[in-house]
Symmetry: C2
Subunit: 651 residues, 2 copies
């Protein structure tokens, strides 16, 4: 081991004190991190919490004028791509804009029905919010408008308190108010840079949640597909199913036949486009085609067939203002706020995830907090112009991307198309049957059930699968907000469990190296006689300090038993490899101290190897380092140094 070494100094300031006897052995001291005052630490910590992406870095070393321009571009991304906009880009955007419009119009009407709102609100919501997003948003592929999950949740949560059929004005008021609060909540998450809160809805949780919601939504559409008139407004699986079979006498065979045919048609087009992505336009065009055909059929058969529900009269004209309908007092305010927050979180999660997905595909970056502000402002504006909660829809954004959208101008094209529809084409929807809306909704949500992803979760991470299952069953059986809370609870529990019961492993030396690795995992690793080398894979905190103390003492006991039964040389030293101990608190420090005392009573030396920066700092601040004698930078150096001193002590 012909390496040059220094004597260990635990408060090492990088001065090497040479040993007296073994000149060739050089140990490395363990350093403290550079000194910082409490205020500096607080500032660093806060900037890491709220500004991890260092949003101001592009303003560094710029002139005042450039800073102004950069600032404008920062707040209104339109100034970033606007100057370079060309006719070529416009052509792509017009094509993709028209494509998503053909999807947005039938889906808008359908999702408004899903939220128990008048169909026209769905069209209003496909006009104003996309325009606002096109000025503020930073994703180039997001197709903005109503989304299924948020619509469903809004419908459920509001219908539990107010019935649209009985109190339509109040229901509308609450819907716009909830939209307003959703916007406020989303914008403040973005402005306060608290965007990381939505990360707590893990992908696993969302997977289960969306599958559960899709099942419920699909079952609810049986109302439209079977032609049932009296249907429950509840959202749990049991009342919905019983509602379907309790009203068998209301089933209408004409509706069933036509609805099922169109559903099969839509599902087939979806299947084709999924198999061959270049035929994306088949599934993109199918909903509008179906709406046109079914409307024509009903119009032609109107004298012969009765009892088929249609949309009926829709008023012509642009979004009426609705700021006077916002509801800021009275008994239902709580419901509106709660609905706003839940739909706000859900639509935000979808919007951000969609934006990030397509940004990654085209290798640009979407700033989460800025997107949240944009989506929030768009919903706040929407709530004042008769729109309900909107976000970036996954299905329409995928179509937008495949149709070759280049910038948010495709949203403007879509909004213009919707405007034309609103101004001139509304009477055409009079005979559109509701079963076609049900079929469109089912086709849209069926893709949310991703059992393959669930299977992958099961294969890779059982606890993730559990979170997924909890949110699935919670939504299906209990309710949307409770199902979500349970799933978030399971995810947080997972983190706590990891910290409460961390892994501890016994390390051994890989021959002819200075590498120490888990004995259980590396067959070639060998125990070092007289040493027990342990690694703790977690921070040492109040939640696990008692456990770790007991567990380490158990390792020591088991090692002693093993040594006794194998008649090996006695244990002299326990080394704790702290490389993966990423934090420590006062309980953890007490545990380390107590362990040292307990092991010393058994005549065992207890040394620490490689504490990370903040752990080292805390050990230093609590003045316990003196009692430890020396700290080592690596397990290897600890073994070399202590072996040498043991050798000296026992000649």
């Amino acid at each position: 081991m012909g390496i040059n070494c220094n004597r260990v100094e635990h408060f090492s300031d990088n001065q090497a004190v040479p040993t007296e006897t073994m000149p060739p052995l050089e140990l490395h001291g363990v350093c403290l991190p550079p000194h910082k005052t409490t205020l500096e630490k607080l500032r660093d910590r806060l900037s890491e919490i709220f500004f991890p992406d260092d949003p101001l870095h592009r303003f560094k070393n710029q002139t005042c004028c450039q800073k102004l321009l950069l600032g404008l571009q920062f707040f209104f991304p339109v100034f970033q791509w606007g100057p370079n906009y060309s006719l070529n880009l416009l052509r792509s955007d017009v094509i993709s804009g028209l494509t998503i419009a053909s999807l947005a119009i039938p889906q808008g009407i359908s999702y408004a029905k899903l939220a128990n709102l008048p169909p026209i609100v769905g069209l209003y919501s496909s006009f104003v919010p996309p325009l606002i997003y096109s000025v503020l948003g930073s994703s180039r592929h997001l197709a903005v408008g109503p989304v299924s999950i948020a619509s469903l949740v809004m419908g459920t949560m509001l219908s539990e308190t107010v019935s649209y059929t009985e109190q339509p004005i109040l229901y509308l008021q609450l819907a716009f108010t909830a939209t307003f609060f959703a916007g406020v909540f989303q914008a403040s998450l973005g402005l306060l840079r608290l965007g990381f809160i939505i990360d707590f809805l893990s992908k696993a949780t969302l997977l289960g949640f969306m599958a559960g919601a899709a099942v419920i939504v699909s079952l609810q559409q049986l109302k439209g597909l079977l032609g049932i008139v009296h249907f429950t407004s509840k959202m749990q699986i049991i009342p919905v199913l019983s509602s379907v079979f309790m009203h068998k006498n209301e089933w209408s065979w004409q509706t069933i036949v036509m609805g099922t045919s169109f559903l099969v048609f839509l599902l087939t087009t979806r299947k084709i486009s999924m198999k061959k992505p270049k035929y994306f336009w088949i599934s993109a065009a199918a909903p509008l085609t179906s709406v046109i055909f079914s409307t024509l059929i009903i119009y032609l058969l109107q004298s012969k067939v009765h009892g088929i529900a249609t949309i009926g009269h829709l008023p012509k004209g642009m979004n009426p203002p609705s700021s006077n309908m916002l509801y800021f007092h009275g008994p239902y305010l709580g419901v509106a706020i709660k609905t706003g927050i839940v739909t706000g979180i859900l639509s935000l999660t979808e919007g951000i995830a969609v934006g990030r997905t397509f940004a990654a595909l085209k290798n640009y970056q979407v700033d989460g907090n800025k997107e949240m502000t944009a989506i929030g402002l768009m919903n706040m504006a929407g709530s004042c112009s008769s729109c309900f909660v909107t976000s970036g829809s996954f299905s329409r954004s995928a179509v937008n991307y495949n149709a070759g959208a280049q910038t948010v101008v495709s949203n403007i094209i879509m909004a213009s198309t919707v405007l034309v529809t609103l101004l001139f084409l509304m009477p055409l929807f009079h005979y559109t049957p509701t079963f076609i809306l049900a079929a469109i909704i089912i086709t849209a949500v069926i893709g949310l059930i991703d059992y393959q992803a669930a299977f992958r979760l099961w294969k890779v991470d059982k606890l993730d699968f559990l979170a997924c299952l909890c949110s699935f069953l919670g939504v299906l059986i209990i309710s949307v907000p409770l199902g979500l809370s349970i799933a978030v609870g399971v995810s947080v529990f997972k983190i706590l469990l990891h910290v409460t019961r961390p892994t501890t492993v016994v390390l051994g030396n890989i021959p002819e190296t200075q590498i120490y690795q888990s004995l259980g995992r590396y067959g070639e690793a060998l125990r070092v006689p007289s040493f027990l080398i342990l690694a703790v894979e977690s921070p040492i905190l109040f939640a696990n300090s008692t456990y770790l103390q007991e567990r380490i003492l158990r390792w020591v006991r088991e090692e002693e038993e093993r040594i006794e039964s194998n008649d090996e040389s006695t244990m002299k030293c326990v080394i704790l490899d702290m490389t993966a101990v990423t934090a420590i608190d006062t309980s953890g420090i007490d545990t380390i101290c107590e362990l040292r005392k307990m092991l010393e009573k058994r005549s065992l030396q207890f040394v620490l190897a490689n504490p990370v920066g903040n752990v080292m700092e805390k050990l230093h601040q609590s003045n316990i380092l003196e009692s430890f004698g020396s700290l080592y930078l690596t397990v290897g150096e600890a073994v070399i140094d202590i072996s040498a001193s043991l050798w000296k002590a026992q000649p």
Copy 2:
């Protein structure tokens, strides 16, 4: 670098594939942990969660008969020390038993007053529970009886619903029922081996909580010390203080003079014993002495002084049975259960902490789960014999230890002394003034305010200090259960924050070694040209995967800017040191994959070094390892191997 090396194989089963060109370079493969089925993993995980101390290890390799004896000893520790009990031990236990009895009698009466219960209940509670504990408990120094915090909390929580003065029977019923539920809760925590739940009340939280409770209790004692008759039953600082000053007309100078004198006497004796632990008997004997003197004074002055409240008549005799007073239905059941759980947790935490403290001093081990069962059973039995919540008291246990207690027999001696008092001496307490009880309580709780420990928290860990402050202020201003919940919330938030915003550091090489350490911390560490070596100090989970992705890309961007401004050689490779990444979930795996794709688009190689066992397993199960090419066991080997291949590529 004259080391022998193998080629890296990411599914390495320890087979070394020699490289073609560089025979002296030997790399080490990264191993998977030994294969286990899902069921085996579940079993291992559950046994680690519920049986970390391997309680059955002592039964291994024993004959049937020995197993029976060990089982008996396991459930009734009395069989462990009983056979070796000697006259010598008995002498020590008698002395310490009598000492703690002299403390237990006045404190028992006082703490019962604190819980708004009749004083005699405090004596009953110092008789039955110690006897039961002496059979079941495994701590040799715990002095069992009523404790201040649990008494206070029970008094507060019950008084908020029922007033003792108005409905004494109902109040008593609820107190016994709460005690019963506290016992059930404690015993089931122990039996279900969920003892780790109390770890979530961190030391910092308890420090703040106890200080807050001590302040409130002391202020409440002003009622007795000032002789106020009408006093609030609330527990927040504002109503208590306003109650003190609103009833100035009720202040009685005789009570104030005598109360203050005795308080000063008691505090002085406490101070003396704290300074010189061998004079522990001074503070131990002081309360009983004060009770005797004050009773004598009041008895002698009874014709001259009026308006001094005394305890009054106390019934003679042993604990009456109270199982018929348990209350299992009706409107107050919820309050009783809630009070039971809160007082159960608090008394358990104190009892376990005290037991562990003295066990560590005498170098024996206390089994947490077994202690919980013992304390729980003792409270269940207590609730059927007119006792309220009891546990191991810190102050009395310290006296017990100092007085030389050797086994739980000292508890039996104490209980016998209390029995003698109950049977024969009760009339003597008739003239005991209540101000002396107030003075005793203040003296007992004042020690709970440990501002030095709080200062240490501030010095070492600011977030621990915040948890402490929150529980202190929460208890003082809001309420006991809410204060505790806030503090537990802060503690859990601390864990989540650590996971949500983990530390990432840039590593450099310490010259002439294979050691890679933080550049910011180790001045001698040097950047490796063409490499960016990052270490993540936390698991990669849903809660931080977005953050880590952004943060790592920011490190890359900053490194590119630095290279550009310094005109150094371009970056070729990003190495992620996974040593401290102690877990990964499906979101984390997706992040790693996406990072690899993003970095590859920038022509940067992305490699992982030293993933720990379970992370490696999950990376393997998710089939992403193929796309990574090679995994390295250490950063050093990664640098050597990749440098070599870069060298080959650019001749």
